[in-house]
Protein backbone atom coordinates (compact mmCIF):
# COMPACT_ATOMS: atom_id res chain seq x y z
CA UNK A 1 0.00 0.00 0.00
CA UNK A 2 2.63 2.51 1.06
CA UNK A 3 5.39 0.42 2.64
CA UNK A 4 8.09 2.14 0.56
CA UNK A 5 7.43 5.42 2.42
CA UNK A 6 9.32 4.09 5.47
CA UNK A 7 12.62 3.44 3.60
CA UNK A 8 12.03 6.76 1.81
CA UNK A 9 11.82 8.55 5.16
CA UNK A 10 15.05 6.86 6.23
CA UNK A 11 16.66 7.82 2.89
CA UNK A 12 15.78 11.50 3.43
CA UNK A 13 17.31 11.43 6.92
CA UNK A 14 20.48 9.59 5.83
CA UNK A 15 20.91 11.92 2.83
CA UNK A 16 20.88 14.92 5.17
CA UNK A 17 23.28 13.14 7.53
CA UNK A 18 25.60 12.34 4.60
CA UNK A 19 25.71 16.01 3.56
CA UNK A 20 26.49 17.12 7.13
CA UNK A 21 29.21 14.46 7.50
CA UNK A 22 30.66 15.40 4.10
CA UNK A 23 30.97 19.05 5.11
CA UNK A 24 32.51 18.09 8.46
CA UNK A 25 35.03 15.83 6.74
CA UNK A 26 36.04 18.63 4.39
CA UNK A 27 36.70 20.85 7.41
CA UNK A 28 38.60 18.19 9.37
CA UNK A 29 40.59 17.10 6.34
CA UNK A 30 40.82 13.81 4.53
CA UNK A 31 43.69 12.36 6.58
CA UNK A 32 41.67 11.83 9.73
CA UNK A 33 38.66 10.41 7.95
CA UNK A 34 40.52 7.98 5.71
CA UNK A 35 42.06 5.89 8.47
CA UNK A 36 40.75 2.68 6.96
CA UNK A 37 40.35 3.87 3.38
CA UNK A 38 36.63 4.63 3.66
CA UNK A 39 35.24 7.94 4.82
CA UNK A 40 31.88 7.99 6.62
CA UNK A 41 30.34 10.05 3.82
CA UNK A 42 31.28 7.30 1.36
CA UNK A 43 29.85 4.60 3.62
CA UNK A 44 26.63 6.59 3.98
CA UNK A 45 26.45 7.08 0.21
CA UNK A 46 26.17 3.28 -0.17
CA UNK A 47 23.21 3.25 2.22
CA UNK A 48 21.59 6.18 0.40
CA UNK A 49 21.95 4.47 -2.97
CA UNK A 50 20.39 1.27 -1.59
CA UNK A 51 17.50 3.16 0.02
CA UNK A 52 16.79 5.59 -2.82
CA UNK A 53 17.17 2.89 -5.47
CA UNK A 54 14.75 0.62 -3.67
CA UNK A 55 12.32 3.47 -3.00
CA UNK A 56 12.23 4.61 -6.66
CA UNK A 57 11.68 1.10 -8.02
CA UNK A 58 9.09 0.25 -5.37
CA UNK A 59 7.27 3.50 -6.12
CA UNK A 60 6.92 2.35 -9.74
CA UNK A 61 5.52 -0.98 -8.55
CA UNK A 62 2.96 0.83 -6.40
CA UNK A 63 1.97 3.06 -9.34
CA UNK A 64 1.68 -0.07 -11.51
CA UNK A 65 -0.67 -1.67 -9.01
CA UNK A 66 -2.72 1.52 -8.65
CA UNK A 67 -1.76 2.07 -5.01
CA UNK A 68 -0.12 5.42 -5.77
CA UNK A 69 -1.67 8.02 -8.09
CA UNK A 70 -0.30 11.35 -9.38
CA UNK A 71 -3.14 13.37 -7.83
CA UNK A 72 -3.98 14.12 -4.16
CA UNK A 73 -4.09 12.38 -1.77
CA UNK A 74 -1.60 10.32 -3.87
CA UNK A 75 -2.21 7.13 -1.90
CA UNK A 76 -5.44 5.40 -2.99
CA UNK A 77 -5.81 3.91 0.49
CA UNK A 78 -6.38 7.44 1.79
CA UNK A 79 -9.62 7.73 -0.21
CA UNK A 80 -11.35 5.19 1.97
CA UNK A 81 -11.12 5.68 5.78
CA UNK A 82 -11.40 1.90 6.22
CA UNK A 83 -8.14 1.40 4.28
CA UNK A 84 -6.09 3.85 6.34
CA UNK A 85 -5.54 1.53 9.32
CA UNK A 86 -4.36 -1.45 7.17
CA UNK A 87 -2.07 0.95 5.29
CA UNK A 88 -0.50 2.20 8.52
CA UNK A 89 -0.21 -1.40 9.75
CA UNK A 90 1.60 -2.37 6.55
CA UNK A 91 3.95 0.58 6.90
CA UNK A 92 4.67 -0.38 10.52
CA UNK A 93 5.37 -4.02 9.68
CA UNK A 94 6.58 -4.44 6.08
CA UNK A 95 7.97 -0.90 5.69
CA UNK A 96 9.93 -1.00 8.94
CA UNK A 97 11.19 -4.53 8.15
CA UNK A 98 12.40 -3.31 4.73
CA UNK A 99 14.25 -0.35 6.23
CA UNK A 100 15.85 -2.52 8.94
CA UNK A 101 16.90 -5.21 6.44
CA UNK A 102 18.54 -2.72 4.09
CA UNK A 103 20.33 -1.02 7.00
CA UNK A 104 21.57 -4.35 8.42
CA UNK A 105 22.84 -5.48 4.99
CA UNK A 106 24.59 -2.10 4.61
CA UNK A 107 26.18 -2.46 8.07
CA UNK A 108 27.49 -5.94 7.13
CA UNK A 109 28.77 -4.51 3.81
CA UNK A 110 30.63 -1.73 5.63
CA UNK A 111 32.09 -4.19 8.17
CA UNK A 112 33.39 -6.50 5.42
CA UNK A 113 34.82 -3.57 3.44
CA UNK A 114 36.57 -2.24 6.57
CA UNK A 115 38.03 -5.64 7.43
CA UNK A 116 39.24 -6.12 3.85
CA UNK A 117 40.74 -2.62 3.76
CA UNK A 118 42.54 -3.21 7.06
CA UNK A 119 43.83 -6.58 5.90
CA UNK A 120 45.43 -5.25 2.71
CA UNK A 121 49.16 -4.42 2.99
CA UNK A 122 48.55 -0.98 1.42
CA UNK A 123 46.27 0.06 4.26
CA UNK A 124 48.69 -1.27 6.91
CA UNK A 125 51.68 0.44 5.42
CA UNK A 126 50.15 3.76 4.46
CA UNK A 127 51.05 6.71 6.67
CA UNK A 128 47.43 7.75 7.17
CA UNK A 129 46.30 4.33 8.34
CA UNK A 130 49.33 3.46 10.43
CA UNK A 131 49.88 6.76 12.19
CA UNK A 132 48.74 7.26 15.76
Amino acid sequence: MACFLVPMGEAIVTSVVQKVVENREKKVGEERTKKTGFSWSRRLSWLNKLLWGGTILLALEHIWHGEVVPWPPFLTAMNNPADVAPMLHEMATVGVAMAITVTVVWAIMVMIAELKAKATPEAKGSPVSGGA
Partner: protein, 97 residues
Protein backbone atom coordinates in the same frame (compact mmCIF):
# COMPACT_ATOMS: atom_id res chain seq x y z
CA UNK B 1 8.45 -12.26 -11.20
CA UNK B 2 9.78 -8.72 -10.73
CA UNK B 3 11.74 -9.93 -7.68
CA UNK B 4 13.46 -12.60 -9.80
CA UNK B 5 14.18 -10.15 -12.62
CA UNK B 6 15.53 -7.45 -10.31
CA UNK B 7 17.70 -10.01 -8.46
CA UNK B 8 19.10 -11.19 -11.79
CA UNK B 9 19.83 -7.59 -12.84
CA UNK B 10 21.54 -6.97 -9.47
CA UNK B 11 23.72 -10.08 -9.82
CA UNK B 12 24.72 -9.27 -13.41
CA UNK B 13 25.54 -5.59 -12.73
CA UNK B 14 27.52 -6.52 -9.60
CA UNK B 15 29.55 -9.03 -11.63
CA UNK B 16 30.27 -6.43 -14.34
CA UNK B 17 31.13 -3.85 -11.66
CA UNK B 18 33.55 -6.30 -10.03
CA UNK B 19 35.23 -7.14 -13.37
CA UNK B 20 35.86 -3.41 -13.94
CA UNK B 21 36.74 -2.60 -10.27
CA UNK B 22 38.43 -0.71 -8.69
CA UNK B 23 37.71 1.65 -11.59
CA UNK B 24 34.07 2.78 -11.55
CA UNK B 25 34.10 5.39 -14.29
CA UNK B 26 30.62 4.49 -15.53
CA UNK B 27 29.04 4.29 -12.09
CA UNK B 28 28.12 0.60 -12.26
CA UNK B 29 28.40 0.57 -8.47
CA UNK B 30 25.43 2.93 -8.34
CA UNK B 31 23.39 0.76 -10.71
CA UNK B 32 24.08 -2.40 -8.74
CA UNK B 33 23.17 -0.69 -5.44
CA UNK B 34 19.88 0.54 -6.98
CA UNK B 35 19.04 -3.03 -7.99
CA UNK B 36 20.17 -4.51 -4.65
CA UNK B 37 18.12 -1.97 -2.69
CA UNK B 38 14.96 -2.91 -4.60
CA UNK B 39 15.77 -6.64 -4.42
CA UNK B 40 16.14 -6.52 -0.63
CA UNK B 41 12.94 -4.54 -0.17
CA UNK B 42 10.90 -6.81 -2.43
CA UNK B 43 12.37 -9.89 -0.80
CA UNK B 44 11.18 -8.67 2.61
CA UNK B 45 7.79 -7.77 1.08
CA UNK B 46 7.42 -11.23 -0.49
CA UNK B 47 8.50 -13.08 2.68
CA UNK B 48 6.16 -11.09 4.92
CA UNK B 49 3.23 -11.44 2.50
CA UNK B 50 3.90 -15.19 2.26
CA UNK B 51 4.02 -15.56 6.05
CA UNK B 52 0.98 -13.40 6.76
CA UNK B 53 -1.29 -14.20 3.81
CA UNK B 54 0.12 -17.42 2.34
CA UNK B 55 -0.33 -18.23 -1.34
CA UNK B 56 2.37 -18.33 -4.00
CA UNK B 57 5.74 -16.80 -3.17
CA UNK B 58 6.42 -15.71 -6.76
CA UNK B 59 3.79 -14.16 -8.98
CA UNK B 60 4.54 -15.53 -12.44
CA UNK B 61 2.36 -14.07 -15.17
CA UNK B 62 2.58 -11.60 -18.05
CA UNK B 63 1.67 -8.57 -15.90
CA UNK B 64 4.39 -9.39 -13.35
CA UNK B 65 6.92 -9.93 -16.16
CA UNK B 66 6.07 -6.57 -17.76
CA UNK B 67 6.41 -4.91 -14.34
CA UNK B 68 9.83 -6.56 -13.96
CA UNK B 69 10.91 -5.18 -17.34
CA UNK B 70 9.58 -1.71 -16.50
CA UNK B 71 11.45 -1.72 -13.21
CA UNK B 72 14.72 -2.62 -14.95
CA UNK B 73 14.12 0.10 -17.58
CA UNK B 74 13.49 2.69 -14.84
CA UNK B 75 16.68 1.72 -12.98
CA UNK B 76 18.70 1.93 -16.21
CA UNK B 77 17.10 5.31 -16.97
CA UNK B 78 18.00 6.70 -13.52
CA UNK B 79 21.57 5.39 -13.89
CA UNK B 80 21.90 6.87 -17.39
CA UNK B 81 20.63 10.29 -16.25
CA UNK B 82 23.17 10.30 -13.39
CA UNK B 83 25.87 9.19 -15.85
CA UNK B 84 25.04 11.93 -18.38
CA UNK B 85 24.82 14.61 -15.68
CA UNK B 86 28.21 13.62 -14.22
CA UNK B 87 29.61 13.04 -17.76
CA UNK B 88 32.75 11.07 -16.76
CA UNK B 89 34.12 11.02 -20.32
CA UNK B 90 33.54 14.74 -20.80
CA UNK B 91 31.57 14.07 -23.99
CA UNK B 92 28.88 16.67 -23.33
CA UNK B 93 31.50 19.31 -22.48
CA UNK B 94 33.21 18.66 -25.83
CA UNK B 95 29.89 18.90 -27.71
CA UNK B 96 29.18 22.29 -26.07
CA UNK B 97 32.46 23.67 -27.45
Amino acid sequence: MWLIMTSLAAIITTAIWYIKAPEDKYKLGLLSLIFWGATLMWFVDHVMAYLMEGGEFFEINLDATLLGLSVIILALLVWEIVLLVSDPKGVLKRIKR
